[in-house]
């Protein structure tokens, strides 16, 4: 017998895809992917959003028709006036829940609004979780660098506060955000004259050491891990700890297959080993890691316990 042990959330697309690719991706997710929630919108660079903004309403409608609940993403580093206005407007609409990825948005939260906290907000301890829950946070996707011991404590705190905990279960891990655009810099440009060179790299631009070792990936102002975080082998212990939800972060390739591999493994329909094999098929180029969960370096990969 299989049981559904986790909900799943598709995180916001982190990369600068064309409007057509954006629309196709969400159409397929809406129709075929076994995920419960979809966070949609720009979280990395506000210069990208105008290119696909007009595709978002149709994507949302189709996702909702496909039975997904839709949450609006917010920008990870808000500095410009137009970014602040956009952040304020997110909280003025009342149709969809908002995911906060920068504490700027806390200034717009009204007492009656509930919201989610994204992985880029520093929720490291029970006091911070409790504070945000009292302001209206109902779901916390924890910072990916947290070890399992912290996850356990935060789940207990979330339970007390009537909130749910989600962990970063799949995809390149966001490690840093900057005022500077590294994609532009690597092309001899600056952020203000970037020519949108980030659109060339569907999963980020590889950063290798001078010895050729894969290390990081640049995605505009964001720096990601080279390895894809992957907790498919750790679902038993996460379920035991009371983690409610898994976050899957979009990549190019067959992402519906990724969501199916997680759904089948989470329900016990297939083994973690078979789940991992499916992920390797869906993303043959990707290398995986789960070191953060073990309090080790994030790049490490430990076999499932």
């Amino acid at each position: 017998m299989t049981t559904k042990r986790f909900e799943s959330t598709l995180g916001p697309l982190q990369f600068n895809w064309s409007a057509a690719a954006f629309a196709d991706f969400y159409a397929r997710i809406a129709d075929e992917a076994p995920v419960d929630r979809v966070v949609i919108g720009e979280s990395v660079c506000s210069k990208r959003e105008p290119f696909y903004a007009d595709r978002i309403p149709a994507a949302i409608e189709r996702l909702e028709r496909g039975g997904k609940s839709v949450v609006l993403a917010s920008l990870a580093l808000v500095t410009l006036d137009r970014e602040r206005r956009a952040a304020r407007e997110l909280f003025e609409q009342t149709q969809h829940e908002v995911e906060i990825d920068d504490l700027t948005l806390m200034n717009f939260v009204r007492p009656e609004t509930s919201f989610s906290i994204g992985p880029l907000v520093n929720v490291y301890n029970e006091a911070t979780l409790g504070f945000l829950a009292r302001q209206g946070a109902r779901r916390f996707c924890l910072p990916p660098e947290l070890p399992f011991a912290s996850v356990e404590v935060l789940v207990a705190a979330a339970n007390v506060n009537g909130a749910a905990v989600e962990v970063w279960a799949y995809g390149r891990i966001p490690l840093a955000i900057s005022g500077r655009c590294y994609h532009a810099r690597a092309h001899g440009l600056s952020k203000d004259s970037c020519r949108f060179v980030c659109e060339k790299d569907l999963d980020g631009l590889a950063v290798r050491t001078l010895e050729g070792a894969e290390f990081l990936a640049v995605n505009g102002v964001q720096t990601l891990s080279h390895k894809y975080g992957n907790l498919i082998g750790d679902l038993d212990r996460l379920a035991q700890a009371g983690v409610k939800s898994l976050r899957l972060s979009p990549h190019s390739g067959d992402f519906v297959a990724v969501t199916r591999a997680f759904a089948a493994t989470a329900s016990g329909e297939i083994s973690p080993e078979d789940g991992l094999a499916l992920l390797r098929q869906a993303a043959p180029e990707a290398e995986f890691s789960n070191g953060f969960l073990f309090g080790d370096c994030g790049a490490a990969f430990f076999p499932s316990a």
Binding site: A127, E145, S178, G179, A206, V207, F215
Partner: protein, 332 residues
């Protein structure tokens, strides 16, 4: 010149009692420092203050009409929150003039339990615009915000026009190129992070090795620099390393530069900044003394309407190169 500019405060680092006294003697208006544990973001072996040393330092500063700001600016570990909370209690008990905090839970805890204690929002909180700052001021009564190093001087001026609290900006020393408090590059390579352990690119995970006629410095096994054996291999701080990204080979994130915004003192003053901060609690007493003395001279010159001598600190900076960082828009 505005009246405000004359009152610019000089905030100086101290990692040891000796550096603390040197900073005060060299003209610091305030010194920031931390307890010798994981509650502060410069948690290095042999650095920082026991409770007794902190008490003596505060007494020394107050005798010399200077202030002490205690940095408790890492993010408390789940299950050990009490340790950070206790650090705030001790700072209040010892008579600190302010505590510098980054964690929401700790700010909330401090604001509720120590209503009289002055709260400064750490650069680690990455409050990068007027709305974020308004939130900290409204909810916790924060009185000052240390601005993240992602803003131009014009943006800082615009922020100051909108907010009631004071702002403090970095003017000299090491330069984070990422939004601080939001970077886990170090823990990806080593398992130790500024947010959780108060350490970035820790020495415990550094390795130097000669390979052929090259010297390689590694962090957590990843090569960060490769130089000819005749050169000095730079310390492998992750974001200052040499990498390859597409056709680009070199300093993908930042050159091995450090921040020197001495020449921007007039602009920062006009932008409404209250305090200028020098980075480097891990630095020697001699370094602290030289930098503080030089900046105090610059502030006094500015207040008196005299020109500021540029570049006199160059020999103290990493790699002999300096930048004004994000303060100029072209940096982005």
């Amino acid at each position: 010149m505005s009246a405000r500019a004359k009152d610019l405060e000089l905030i100086c680092p101290a990692g040891t009692p000796a550096a603390f006294r040197a900073a005060i003697n060299a003209g610091a208006h305030a010194v920031y420092c931390g307890f010798n544990d994981e509650t502060n973001a410069r948690n290095f072996p042999g650095l920082n203050f026991s409770r007794e040393e902190m008490a003596a330092a505060i007494k020394y500063a107050h005798q010399h009409d200077a202030k002490v700001l205690i940095a408790i600016n890492t993010f408390p570990r789940a299950g050990a929150f009490w340790r950070w909370s206790k650090a705030v209690d001790d700072a209040a008990r010892l008579g600190a003039d302010a505590v510098i905090l980054a964690d929401l839970g700790l700010l909330d805890d401090a604001a509720r339990r120590h209503p009289g204690l002055r709260l400064h929002v750490s650069v680690q909180a990455a409050a990068a615009n007027a709305d974020a700052i308004a939130f900290y001021a409204r909810v916790f009564g924060a009185r000052r915000v240390v601005l993240p190093r992602v803003l131009t001087v014009q943006e800082i001026a615009a922020i100051n026009r909108e907010i009631d609290v004071e702002t403090e900006v970095f003017v000299f020393g090491g330069l984070c190129v990422m939004a601080e408090g939001r970077c886990s590059l170090s823990s990806y390579a080593t398992g130790k992070s500024p947010n959780m352990n108060g350490a970035c690119s820790p020495a415990s995970h550094v390795e130097y090795r000669q390979e052929g006629d090259e010297l390689v410095s590694r962090l957590g096994g990843f090569a960060i620099h490769r130089v000819s054996a005749a050169e000095a291999a730079p310390y492998p701080t992750l974001c200052k390393g040499c990498f390859q990204a597409g056709d680009y080979k070199g300093h993908v994130f930042e050159d091995p530069v450090s921040l020197d915004a001495a020449s921007l003192i007039p602009q920062l003053a006009e932008a409404g900044v209250t305090a200028l901060k020098i980075e480097g609690r891990q630095r020697s007493r001699a370094y602290t003394e030289a930098v503080v003395r030089s900046f105090r001279r610059a502030l006094d010159a500015y207040a008196a309407g005299r020109p500021i001598a540029a570049g006199e600190l160059r020999e103290l900076t990493e790699g002999q190169q300096t930048t004004s960082g994000a303060y100029r828009k072209t940096w982005r």
